[in-house]
């Protein structure tokens, strides 16, 4: 197997004494946008949290060849940028300060006193998410789409080799869904491994280089979108059939009927 940036061997996660994730193995390389899909309750969020080391797991999980379990909290935070589902900012902080929190793992704990490299990383993230004009606005006053961009910029600002986003486009209109995934795709092209949990198989097919299909805590499929989201897996795992096509060299999948 080729050396991946993030590899798992027989990864298991138990919650309340029951295995929610069972024997998951993969090797995910850099410069990849990976979609993690599966029916409700398949364990997507749990697997994502386990990948980032936020929940304990059994088996072997390594990043860059280092066991994730052996990392300190701070080193782990530098390797993995994590965007939870339904991300919120609890106080009306200015956008720039929220984005700057992405530099927290690098020791930049105070947004008012960023070092030059930290300030530059924040600026890069702000520009990537097109937030320059909103820099001083309180984040709580922004629209849903703008808030998502702020959350995303906060994750980008970590400049971690692995980025994990849980349903980053779930509550967005189509324009912002495409914007946000395009942004994550560019981050992947820039050298990162980006893993995105999503329910939207169409967007997964459109943007992902690779798709992991999870069913009942086990990896059912692992491959390029056309294969992992082929008619067989869709019927088996998702109990649906889909309209299939292609555009710009990308597979097009539109869920069509329950089977």
């Amino acid at each position: 197997m080729s050396a991946g940036l993030l590899t798992a061997e027989r990864l298991c996660v138990a919650i309340g004494g029951r295995d929610v994730i069972t024997d998951v193995s993969f090797a995910l390389p850099r410069e990849n946008l990976v979609a993690l899909v599966g029916p409700n309750g398949a364990g997507k969020t749990t697997l994502l949290r386990a990948m980032s080391g936020l929940v304990a797991s059994r088996g072997v999980l390594t990043v860059d060849g280092t066991p994730v379990a052996s990392l300190t909290a701070r080193d782990r935070a530098k390797k993995f940028a994590y965007l939870p589902q339904g991300h919120v900012v609890h106080w009306p902080l200015p956008v720039r300060d929220v984005v700057a929190l992405g530099r927290y793992p690098h020791g930049a704990v105070d947004p008012a006193r960023l070092s030059r490299p930290d300030a530059e990383a924040v600026e890069r993230a702000m520009r990537a998410a097109d937030l320059d004009s909103l820099a001083d606005r309180p984040v709580t006053e922004l629209s849903g789409g703008e808030k998502s961009r702020v959350a995303l910029a906060r994750m980008l600002a970590v400049e971690a080799p692995v980025m994990l986003a849980d349903e980053p486009v779930a509550s967005l209109d189509p324009y912002f869904q495409i914007e946000v995934l395009g942004l994550l795709q560019r981050a992947a092209r820039g050298g990162a491994l980006v893993i995105v949990v999503t329910h939207d198989l169409g967007l997964a097919a459109r943007f992902a280089d690779r798709v992991l299909v999870l069913r009942d805590g086990r990896l059912a499929m692992d491959g390029p979108p056309a294969e992992a989201l082929g008619p067989g897996p869709l019927a088996d795992v998702f109990r649906i059939s889909a309209f299939r096509g292609g555009q710009d060299g990308q597979p097009v999948i539109v869920p069509w009927a329950a089977v």
Binding site: R76, Y82, L83, P84, H90, W91, L101, Y104, A119, D132
Partner: protein, 351 residues
């Protein structure tokens, strides 16, 4: 080129923000010093500022020295320390729970500390061991805040916190009432009940020595966590992904609040609502950043309690009004105002 420009602009903005950002702190610090000096001059014998200053540093008549150094100085020091740590505790709890209605007094911490202290007073242990009083208050405050946070869980809503706080303070109140009920003689009960009203009157340097180390330790613990509060603005999961040990942070806050509130209650009785009001008055001056809010909240708390303690000396009444009664009279309407302001979040249920 453009990137460098943007960074430079951001740098300049940050510098300006820093200079402007310090102004409220300096202003509040100045206010606390002013009130502190005023507090040394006001009482049955009014002393002018220059007399206060001379007496403070060992000049003036012996009478003036005794009034300033032995009678009023401990009281003024305690007002600043107790008010400060209460304001700081309120800001820290609000930062931890990401909730503007968090405060030690709403969570039953002072009431629990009072119960601990009252038990020690009623059993006569306080007369034997002077440190038993603050220790009992601190342990009781620790237990109450710990239990509250256990009930609250990871993402508690406003309603859950307030209800749990109400239950805990009622329980502590009932325990205190029982202790008074079973008091050996009416004088002991009277002494306890007056002490419960909260006052800084007739405190000596011995009281300062008893409370100040705990208050300072609590304050230092809370301040040391300030940056974690900022990361916590993004929720516990994100904060953890940024490298914050949230469980340790919770424990640090519980410990800091318990030390501060317990140490305070041990010498001043229950003085309420400074912890709730402090952060709210500080926010218009310094903004919402929970890290930058801590010191200004402490200063506002110190100024509030010192001002209230001066006010009770000025109020014309035969029996001196206790400062704890005054802060509650001012604080409760403010609390009601906050409830009205947060009405939407409250009626939204526990979520």
């Amino acid at each position: 080129m453009k990137a460098t420009e943007a960074v430079r602009t951001a740098g300049v903005t940050a510098l300006v923000a820093r200079a402007v950002g310090r102004a409220p702190v300096l202003l509040l610090g100045g206010l606390v010093v002013l009130l502190f000096l005023l507090s040394l001059g006001i009482g049955p014998v009014r002393l002018s500022p220059d007399v206060v200053a001379t007496a403070l540093f060992g000049g003036g008549s012996e009478e003036q020295r005794i009034i300033v150094q032995e009678i009023r100085l401990p009281r003024a020091v305690l007002a600043v320390a107790v008010g400060g740590v209460l304001g700081l505790s309120g800001a820290a709890l609000q930062g931890l729970l990401r909730n503007p209605l968090a405060a030690p007094e709403l969570f039953g911490a002072p009431q629990a500390a009072a119960l601990g202290a009252v038990l020690v007073i009623a059993t006569g242990l306080a007369d034997v061991l002077s440190f038993a009083l603050p220790l009992a208050a601190i342990v009781a405050a620790f237990v109450s805040v710990f239990v509250l946070l256990v009930i609250a869980g990871r993402n508690a809503g406003l309603l859950l916190l307030i209800l749990a706080g109400l239950a805990l303070s009622s329980l502590a109140g009932a325990g205190t009432a029982l202790t008074m009920n079973l008091a050996p003689n009416p004088f002991a009960a009277l002494e306890i009940s007056f002490w419960l009203l909260g006052s800084l009157e007739d405190r000596s340097i011995r009281h300062v020595a008893m409370a100040l180390p705990f208050i300072l330790a609590g304050g230092a613990i809370l301040l040391s966590q300030r940056h974690a509060f900022r990361a916590l603005s993004l929720g516990e999961e994100t904060a953890e992904s940024l490298g914050v040990d949230v469980s340790r942070l919770r424990l640090a806050v519980i410990l800091g609040v318990a030390l501060g509130v317990g140490g305070s209650v041990a010498v001043s009785g229950t003085i309420g609502f400074i912890g709730l009001v402090g952060p709210h008055l500080a926010r218009p001056l310094v903004g919402w950043d929970p890290a930058r809010l801590l010191v200004p909240s402490a200063l506002v708390g110190a100024a509030l309690l010192t001002a209230a303690d001066i006010a009770v000396r000025l109020l014309p009444s035969t029996n001196s009004v206790r400062v704890g009664v005054l802060t509650a009279l001012i604080g409760v309407p403010f609390f009601l105002y906050l409830i009205v302001r947060e009405r939407r979040a409250l009626s939204g249920g526990v979520g």
